[in-house]
Amino acid sequence: MSGYLEGVLVLLAINVVLAYAAFLPIVAGQLNLGVAGFMATGAYVSAYLTNAHGWLPVPAALAATVLTAALGLVVAFPILRTRGIYLALATFAFGQVVVAIILNLNVVGGASGYPVRAYIGFPVIAVAAVLVFVAIYCLFHTRFGISVTAVSDDELVADQMGLSVRWLQTAAFTIGSAVAGLAGALHAHHFSYIEAQYFNVLLSIYIVLYVLLGGTQTIYGPLLGAAVFTLLPEVLRGSAQWRYVIFAGLILALMTWRPQGVVTRSLLRRLFEWRRPPAEAAT
């Protein structure tokens, strides 16, 4: 495989992981504008474990994922007392604070960035992306998937129907942050250099936007969103900035005409119609 193609696929894989990190909270009704902060946490923890303590990159990435999950769990308690726009703002503030704290940690390079010695190659990253997809796919198709959607739709009804609203919201948030942490670790070990300023709110915005572009009604939407976002610059051989201008234009068009995203349940049904058995006879 050519180095160029591999580079694109690595980006795609990491963007897919990030997409699912944002997807689960969105399904639970949470707009996480601090995704990049969790990504940064995973990146720096994993990098530090390999640089300063000689860990191997894959165990370090897993440990970083667990630690990011722990951070997400701790932060979830105060943050999930807020709702709607307040929640989005709280995640935004959290993301900014995390990055600012890292900026001041000279042990991991501070403002000059942090070179990462241990390397993770494309095969591992691809496997990770596939595993994340499979895991989230399975999770989404358990009662958990229906339940978090119910909570995001109508908290009162979910509560009345016996669901533990707070627990579900916390779980969605924590899992989302863990997956973001994993993406960060993979990023750190592949690009061999991380700097805090990269994990800013605009990165969180891009991630959330391409997930919404793909569509959050089905498990496949985030895949499409990540693919579009990753492949747009390859399709348009212009400068990097034009890709984002076009991306922004796509989002605006989408919000005007198809805010539910590209991949919706009805679209999926129509695509797979031929595969379904004939509908049950009405009683």
């Binding site: 198709h141 358990t142 998937g145 229906i146 739709d153 009804v157 509560d159 609203v165």
Partner: protein, 271 residues
């Protein structure tokens, strides 16, 4: 949790399945429920009636835990559930439907009714059951069967938003039933239904009652109540003003005053 066996209308003399003891509730300075006490015996079919604003839906909301009571107790089969969080009440066998339909917009009809299945197995394992992974799994089969029994099987994969009002109401009822409740609270189940739908509803409720589920129904349709309920509890201004057999309720002077009094006010307002 299996539904208790027993024929329809078989009222046992055992302890009440639902009891309110001097329940009171204020919103701000307004007292909406005042020392409300009544009981429902297992297997009964009781109607809760009263003019608009009497507090019927509020009473329901207190029973199901939407709001906490300010005073008094609520007992479910002898167990004090006054402080029990709402989500645990349906798990204990107390299910309800809503006056304004509250189906979940982003789930299909099938998924909507399946939500209530969790109440029977509220645990981490219950949450991780693969209910949507492969078609034909047992939770889907159970839910489809329930929809089929209600004549709604063809709507299983539909989005709820565009369905007719009467269909949505019936879906809500199926959802509540899938929690296998011991007592079912129905908030104006016949409102907005045409005569044919109302008859079908009455038949359905009769069947539900026949399987042993206790019914507490808020309704305005006196004809529907009369054909269906044994006993009536009458509310006005948050207080119980009467409690009697259905046949006698129309003659009760207090009840007449409550309804006709309200009508007179209305008439005067429009004069």
């Amino acid at each position: 949790m299996a539904a208790p066996a027993g024929g329809g209308g078989d009222v046992s003399a055992a302890r009440p399945i639902l009891a309110l003891e001097a329940v009171s509730k204020r919103f701000g300075g307004l007292s909406v429920i005042q020392e409300l006490s009544f009981e429902v015996l297992p297997g009964e079919r009781v109607a809760l009636i009263g003019p608009n604003g009497a507090g019927k839906t509020t009473a329901f909301n207190l029973i199901t835990g939407v709001y906490p009571v300010d005073a008094g107790r609520i007992l479910l089969d002898g167990e004090d559930i006054t402080r029990l969080p709402a989500r645990k009440r349906i798990r204990a066998g107390l299910a309800r439907t809503f006056q304004n339909i509250r189906l979940l917009q982003h789930l299909t009809v099938l998924e909507n009714v399946m939500v209530a299945q969790y109440a029977r197995h509220p645990s981490l394992a219950g949450m991780l059951q693969p209910v949507n992974l492969l078609r034909g799994n047992r939770w889907q089969r159970e839910a489809r069967a329930a929809l089929g029994e209600a004549g709604l099987a063809q709507y299983a994969e539909e989005a709820t938003g565009s369905l007719p009002y009467g269909i949505q109401k019936r879906i809500e009822l199926v959802r509540a039933l899938l929690a296998r409740p011991r007592i079912l609270l129905l908030d104006e189940p016949a409102a907005g239904l045409n005569p044919a739908e109302t008859e079908a509803l009455a038949a359905q409720l009769a069947a539900i009652s026949g399987s042993g589920v206790t019914l507490l129904v808020v309704e305005h349709d006196m004809h529907f109540i009369g054909a269906f309920c044994r006993r009536v509890v009458v509310l006005n201004f948050g207080c119980k003003i009467a409690e009697c057999d259905c046949d006698a309720v129309g003659d009760d002077p207090r009840v007449r005053a409550a309804y006709l009094g309200a009508d007179t006010e209305l008439a005067a307002a429009h004069a």
